[in-house]
């Protein structure tokens, strides 16, 4: 339960961070996933670049109808209302159910999203929004749609020489409805199946089904989940995932139904 030896660096600016990355360092934000993996020696980086002190790494800014969340913004800050409005209420509800407060005080939205654990909460939720991940690389910033960011288990659209700098999300209009369901046998443990449903007035209903040991599935037109009886639609979506163990498929169907029901009842 002690990590293998590594060298530690604390880059003062983004170009220095990229240089460290180019030299083979592993990027670390809050360290709440990488720390345990290093203690268990599942990860043995020879060098760690601690991004927490980069300028602009944490913090939330709103410009027009877009909310930019710095990659280093902690789950606890989001839980405590760092993001304004209806979007903030939704994100705060998700953040509150991530692990435990002691973990949320250190763990970050960008660190978790770019770590891309299939059972992680932001992985299961962010792709539902019509937003973008802001990557930073040698050529500057690059925008990646959130629903194309996750490519596989622990695999993202970031290039090896890029870091995630921010998440940009559209603010949500009044009348937006939201449902979220996460199956955990104990509060704070990794989810066994997570679903969320987002119904923005005038736009197709979107949903995400995740935490099934596969990358999240984005359903771009999920209106049928808002019906009084969403069972058939939930079953159709889960059947499309390919073979799942029966208990897991049942959890996935039920998570979709309950998220749909919550969105239907969300006034």
């Amino acid at each position: 339960m002690k990590p293998a030896a590594f060298t530690y660096a604390r880059p003062a600016d983004w170009p220095e961070a990229l240089a460290l990355l180019g030299g083979g360092a592993r990027a670390q934000a809050g360290g709440q996933s990488l720390g345990p993996m290093m203690n268990l020696r599942l990860a043995q980086p020879g060098a760690v670049a601690d991004l927490r002190h980069l300028p602009g790494f944490a913090g939330v800014t709103v410009t027009g109808a877009t909310c930019r969340i710095g990659a280093g913004t902690t789950h606890a800050a989001i839980e405590d209302g760092a993001v304004p409005g209806l979007l903030g209420r939704i994100l705060a509800g998700v953040a509150r159910r991530i692990a435990y407060r002691a973990v949320r005080n250190r763990g970050t939205i960008g660190g978790s999203f770019s770590h891309a654990d299939p059972a992680a909460d932001w992985v299961a939720v962010l792709p539902v929004f019509m937003g973008e991940a802001i990557a930073f690389g040698p050529a500057g910033e690059r925008r990646i749609p959130l629903d194309g960011f996750l490519r596989g288990l622990f695999e993202t659209a970031l290039a090896p020489d890029e870091l995630l700098r921010a998440i940009e999300l559209p603010l949500l209009p009044a009348g937006t409805r939201w449902g979220h369901w996460k199956f955990c046998r104990k509060p704070g443990e990794f989810s066994k199946a997570t679903a969320c449903v987002l119904a923005v007035p005038g736009a197709p209903v979107r949903a995400v089904l995740a935490a099934l040991d596969t990358p999240p599935l984005v359903i771009a037109d999920a209106g049928a989940l808002l019906l009084a009886a969403p069972e058939a639609e939930a079953a159709r979506i889960v059947a499309g995932l390919g073979p799942l163990e029966p208990w897991r498929a049942a959890l996935a169907r039920t998570a979709l139904q309950r998220a749909g029901l919550a969105a239907r009842e969300d006034a």
């Binding site: 339960m1 709440q32 345990p36 407060r101 002691a102 973990v103 250190r106």
Partner: protein, 162 residues
């Protein structure tokens, strides 16, 4: 071995220690400063025994490594000896039989103090949710939850009188 100087403020006192970057904060506190009130259970961030206050908020000291703590401010269970909220929690833990072996207790108390201060209106369900990241293998949690609720109620009563 690449040892480097780690500067910390621990329980209000500035200190500098030589440590490898891989040393986790709990080992730094226990081995480097003989502050053995911080306990180690799982050493991968699950059990909560090693919870300390790091830069003003509870954190797992077993998964935060020394390099990342350079410049940080840490408060361990020893640093709460004169704290009024912690005194009330200690008394409530005694009254409610909220510990047997005491191994989880330092982490429980630091988490509980954060709950009491951050969530003054918390009910039993919320207390159980908030304390879920601290594992106890002997009491079965009932006494722990009652102790936290007792302090919450004391503080609400005091606020109502004031």
């Amino acid at each position: 071995m690449n040892r480097s100087a780690i500067s910390l403020t621990v329980n209000g006192a500035a200190t500098t220690l030589e440590a490898e970057p891989r040393t986790h904060l709990a080992d730094l506190l226990r081995g480097g400063m003989l502050l053995t009130g911080t306990h180690l259970g799982c050493e991968h961030g699950v059990c909560g025994a090693c919870t300390v206050e790091l830069d003003g908020a509870p954190a797992r000291s077993c998964i935060t490594h020394a390099g990342a703590c350079d410049g940080a401010s840490v408060r361990t269970i020893e640093g709460f000896a004169e704290d009024a909220v912690m005194a009330a929690l200690r008394a409530a833990f005694t009254a409610e039989h909220a510990l047997q072996c005491g191994y989880c207790t330092p982490g429980m108390l630091i988490t509980a103090r954060d709950v009491v201060l951050r969530l003054p209106e918390a009910d039993e369900a919320r207390v159980r949710e908030e304390m879920a990241g601290n594992l106890c293998r002997c009491t079965g949690y009932r006494g722990i939850v009652r102790a936290v609720l007792r302090v919450l109620e004391q503080r609400r009563s005091a606020a109502a009188v004031a």
